[in-house]
Structures are given as C-alpha cells and as structure tokens.
C-alpha cells in the first residue's frame, strides 16, 4: 500500500513536471520597461490576459541593457520556456543567433524580422503602423487649429519613421497645406526612456506652431503627453490606449495590438505557426482608441471621416505608403 502510494505520488510529480516544462511560455520586455504605459505594457497586458483565462503561469524578463539580450534568451530556453515572445526590433539579431541551438523552442519577435527559411522555429510579427498612423494623422489635421501637426519619435529607425510617414500622409489627405514637424528623441536605445527630453521636444514643437503632437516613443512619450497637457495642446498616444493618462488632452491613441500578438502566441503554445505575420487594419492589428476619456475631443465628423478612410484602406481604395519598402516618404523628407 505504501509502495503504491509513493509510486502514484512519484508519477503524479513526474506528470506535473512534464506539464510545467511543456506549457510555460515567457515574454521578454524591451528597454522601455514593462510599465512604459505603451509598447511593452501592451505585451504585459496580453500575457496577463492569457494567464487569467487559462490559469497558467508565464516567465518574464525585463531588459536593462543591450548585453543581456542573448543571455536572457538562452536562460529562458534552457529553462524550458516555450514559446519565448520578445518585443522590439533589437531582439531579432540575438534570436537569429540563439534559435538554431534550441530547435524545439519556438521564438516570437514582435516588430523584428528573422528569416523563417533559415530559422523555422522563429515567428516574426510585424504591424502596419502606417495604416493606424494615417487614421490618427487625419484626426490630428482635423483637430488642429494652427494648421501645424507635430510628431515625436523615439529612436530614429525605419520602424519609427514609418509611424511618422503614415501620420503625415493622413494629415495631408485632410489638409494638403498642413505643416508637419517631426523630431526624433535620439539614435540610441536610451531614446525609448527619456521623458524629460520628450517634454522639452514637445515644447519645442509647440514653439514651431504644432498644437497636436503624436508621440511614438515608448516611455519617452509619457513626457510628451505630460507636456502637451501642461501646455494646453492635444496629444496622440501610441501602442496601448493612453487616453486615460490625461483625459481631455489625449486626442486618441494609435493602438498597436501587441497584446493580441502576445496572447495569440501564448495560446498557440508549442503548436505555434511560424509563417511571418503582418497585422494591419484588416487584421485589427492597428487602429485608433475611442473611449470616455476622449469622447468630447472626437467630433462625429472626425469619426465618420476616419471610419470611411479605414474601410477604404481595408478595401485597397486608399494606399498608404509603407516607409520600410523603399526608405522614402512621399510627403516628408527625413
């Protein structure tokens, strides 16, 4: 009897261990930090949603410098996490290096690109940021009283220029004479987390006439939104719904559904399909946020115009240029 009991106990423990090893996914947040109220926080929300629904647990790591990336991937892979979801383009190269050593582990790079031909266990998820930015650009142009709209980017990379370019295209579609000013916070990853500089950049753009400012800058954007609220300007948030940060001052937020991407990857688990994905308006991967906090700022005309444009982008009647295809923007010279 005692023998039976211990045997049963041992097999139960084994089963538990196997289950844990199979099922625990992991997420790695990029330098902006888990609580950047934007890009990485969206990933966190997606992971939390999965955890609540399935009752499962997941591992998480937050990068604090460049050198940790490869090590973090290896540590999670060795610990048996699967799939490992990462945010930010900078994780692509470390993943390409680490993935061949762990062929049975699935990796996901959100915003990055790893060739699936050479690394069949890596899923690259991209977003059509230009489409969502086009919509908020239209709203900015309609809300602007000075005829000048501003953009503040984080690190100066093609991905962020794509936000700016889509935004400028949307603004020009509403008002061809609109003035567009654009500033990048910096050229190093520190540009994702510099709210002091973000606030000053916003004040600088105000001096150039901008009265609606779109921040696509991770944690730096918190400073931009703060300065806009202080100076009586309108701002546009990014990635997560940031309308609640300064009700009545944040015109809208360009939603990039990183949370959905993380949630779906976690849900698929080991059976994750690694065909590269690009999530646009059609896939509801991007969009604009409308809630109680900005209801008074968004007029019915604005909503009608934007919804019409969204339908046309989905049907292909409006083509929004993707900066990354040829590194040029038809309406703005970087």
């Amino acid at each position: 009897m005692t023998l039976m009991k211990s045997l049963a106990g041992a097999s139960a423990a084994l089963a538990l261990m196997a289950g844990a090893a199979l099922a625990e996914p992991a997420v790695i947040y990029d330098l902006g930090g888990k609580f950047d109220k934007s890009f990485n926080e969206a990933a966190f929300n997606g992971a939390e949603k999965w955890a609540k629904e399935t009752g499962g647990t997941y591992k998480e790591l937050e990068m604090s410098d460049e050198a940790q990336r490869e090590q973090a991937l290896r540590r999670l892979a060795e610990a048996g996490s699967n799939p490992i979801v990462t945010t930010g383009f900078a994780m692509s190269d470390p993943i390409a290096k680490v993935a061949p050593d762990f062929p049975n582990t699935k990796f996901v790079t959100i915003d990055g690109w790893v060739d699936p031909a050479t690394n069949p266990n890596v899923l690259s998820i991209g977003f059509s940021e230009h489409e969502g930015s086009y919509l908020v650009g239209m709203m900015a142009a309609m809300a602007s009283k000075t005829g000048t709209v501003g953009f503040i980017g984080g690190m100066d990379i093609p991905l962020i220029r794509n936000f700016a370019c889509g935004y400028a295209q949307g603004a020009k579609a509403v008002n061809p004479d609109i003035k567009f000013v654009s500033t990048m916070t910096g050229t190093t990853p520190a540009a994702w987390n510099d709210p002091v500089k973000g606030a000053e950049l916003a004040k600088g753009e105000k001096a150039q006439g901008a009265d609606v400012i779109y921040a696509a800058a991770g944690g730096t954007g918190i400073g931009v939104l703060q300065a806009a609220a202080d100076e009586g300007l309108l701002s546009i948030g990014v990635d997560s719904n940031q309308n609640h940060l300064h009700p009545g001052s944040v015109l809208t937020s360009m939603m990039k559904r990183v949370d959905v991407a993380v949630y779906n990857s976690f849900k698929a688990g080991d059976a994750l399909d690694t065909t590269p994905q690009t999530l646009g308006l059609k896939e509801e991967g991007v969009g604009y946020a409308l809630d109680d906090n900005n209801a008074s700022l968004v007029t019915p005309e604005m909503k009608a115009a934007v919804d019409e444009a969204a339908a046309k982008i989905i049907s292909g009647d409006i083509k929004v240029h993707d900066y990354r295809t040829d590194d040029t923007c038809p309406v703005y010279q970087f």
Partner: protein
C-alpha cells in the same frame, strides 16, 4: 533663426540649467570645504525619488520638496561619516553612494507603487507649476526686452528663481561672512583653521549638510517641476555635468551660474538640430551636441581658458596630529 526661436531655446536652457545650478553650488560648498563629492548624482537621484513619492502620496509639492531634501541630507551625512569621521576615501564613498541611489530608488519606488520603479504621475498642487511674473503680458509690447522678460525670465517654477537667488546668497556667504572665510580656509589649509581654534570636522559637516539641502532642491526640481514624477535614472548624469561646470567655473559661485547656463544652453540646443543645422550650415550629429559640455571641460582642464586650481586640501581627510 528668428528672435522667437532664440527665446524659446533660452527658455529651455534656463529650465535645464536649474538642476545643474543647484547641484553645482552643492558641489561648491563641499569641495570648498575640502571634501570631494562625486556623489552629487546619487543625492539628486534619491531626492528626486523621495520628492516624487511624497508629492504623489500627499498631493503637496512642498512636502515633496521637504522629503527630497531629507533624502539628500541622509546621503550627505553618510558621506560625511565615512569621509570625515572615519577618514575614508572620498571618491570611493561618493561612487558607492551613486550606486546605492541608483538601485535603492528603483527598489523603493517599485515597492511603494508597483509601476516599474516609477512614481505615479502627479499634477496640480503636487507639482511646482510655472508662475507668471508681474507685468509679463504687458511687457511684451516693449521691443527686444519685453518678449525676453515674458518668455525667458517669467513663467518658471518657483525653484528656478530660488536657484538663481542661491547664487547671490552663496556669493555673499562665501566672500562676505565669517563662515565663508573659514570655509574657504578649511579647503586650503585645514591645519591653520584648526590652529585658530575652529573645528575642522564641524565646518566640513556643515558644508556637507548645505550640499545635501542643495542636492535635495535639485532632485525635487527634477521630479516635481521639470517632470511630473520620478523615473528610473532620471537625473541622467546631471550630477557629473554639474561637477564639470564647477571645474569650468573654477569653484566660484557667479562663474558657476554662467557655466550652468552655458551647459543648459547646449542641452537645449541639442533638442533643436534644425536650428543648429541652420546656424552652422552642416548637419551636426546630436550626440556631438550632447558631448559638448564634457569637451569644453576637457579644454578648460587642458589650460585653454586659464588654470583651474582646486582647493588645495581637497580629497585629503584631515588628521590632527601626525
């Protein structure tokens, strides 16, 4: 570049110069008394965290300011005990305090608010809001000086004016009071001060406490006026730039003000690459502008702008009997 753009940049420069100025004066007191303080950065950081946290919890910017000063004072006392009482190496003590602040601030903020080492955004009474000086709007009509008054001089938080007032106060204290004379003497020749029957330890501790108060003001300004809350590593090397400004100013208060304004101006300029490009007609990389204050300091140290001689007894713990 038109006049308005220049005013805009100067306005930003004043805002950026303020934390530098507080920290620079803080360093001035400590170094003039013969205690090198590389820990200005850490003191500012802990002050910013304390100020941000208390302002967020209490809703009062003034309580936040007091907490900030308190936090910086504790660090100043630790520095004093290790380097004055126990005659430890002043540089090592300062560096250790910087590391301690870097980790401790994030840890405490995370424990209190669970927002990834940030303090929650604050607004209204919890922040030092800009104040408009009298006649700012009316003065706009006066050509040249009017807009300068309205844009650059008016419209800052009260701490900004306090920073410039402390320059005058420091000058007066240093050159016109008995305390100032003794402070300058104890940094040059502590033995002479001791022979005159004045306690070197007490003088140096007093100087370090003033340093703590000023660093507290610098940190509180960062968290409750310049920004709305504390963020991880938010001082971003300003403590070191302040040290550079101190050397640049050759340990003199009025010169320190000009040095901080100059460095603040460079920081403001780095935010406007379009203006820089217009001025010099070539594209200047932003990192180059960020590096300018440090490069200027190297030029000064290399002797281009005259010799910068630190207080002679700086860095040496005072031992009464040899």
């Amino acid at each position: 570049m038109d006049y308005n753009t220049l005013l805009q940049i100067l306005d930003t420069a004043v805002r950026f110069a303020t934390p530098l100025l507080f920290a620079c004066l803080a360093g001035l007191y400590s170094e003039r008394s013969g205690v090198f303080d590389i820990g200005l950065e850490g003191k500012m950081l802990i002050a910013a965290m304390c100020a941000g946290a208390v302002a967020a919890l209490s809703g009062s910017a003034w309580l936040g300011l007091l907490a900030g000063i308190g936090g910086a004072l504790v660090f100043a006392l630790i520095h004093g005990v290790t380097s004055i009482t126990f005659r430890g190496n002043q540089l090592i003590s300062g560096v250790a305090l910087n590391f301690l602040a870097s980790g401790l601030t994030v840890l405490v903020a995370q424990r209190l608010f669970q927002q990834g080492g940030r303090t929650p955004p604050i607004s209204g009474e919890a922040r030092f809001n800009p104040i408009t000086l009298p006649f700012a709007e009316e003065a706009r009509q006066i050509p040249l000086i009017g807009p300068f008054y309205a844009e650059v001089i008016s419209g800052h938080a009260i701490l900004v004016y306090l920073a410039f007032a402390s320059v005058a106060l420091t000058w007066w204290a240093l050159y016109r009071t008995r305390f100032g004379l003794r402070l300058r003497a104890v940094g040059e020749n502590p033995a002479a001060v001791d022979t005159a029957g004045i306690s070197v330890t007490r003088l140096r501790f007093t100087a370090l406490l003033i340093t703590g108060v000023l660093c507290g003001l610098a940190g509180a300004y960062m968290a409750t006026a310049l920004q709305a809350g504390f963020g991880k590593e938010m001082t971003a090397g300003r403590g070191y730039i302040a040290l550079a400004a101190l050397i640049f100013a050759k340990w003199r208060p009025i010169a320190a003000m000009w040095a901080c304004l100059l460095f603040g101006f460079f920081q403001a300029l780095a935010l406007r690459p379009d203006v820089v490009e217009w001025m010099v007609r070539v594209k200047v990389p932003v990192p180059f502008l960020d590096a300018l204050p440090y490069m200027l300091t190297v030029f000064v140290l290399a002797g281009f702008v005259g010799k910068a001689i630190p207080p002679r007894a700086g860095g040496e713990p005072y031992v009464k009997e040899r």
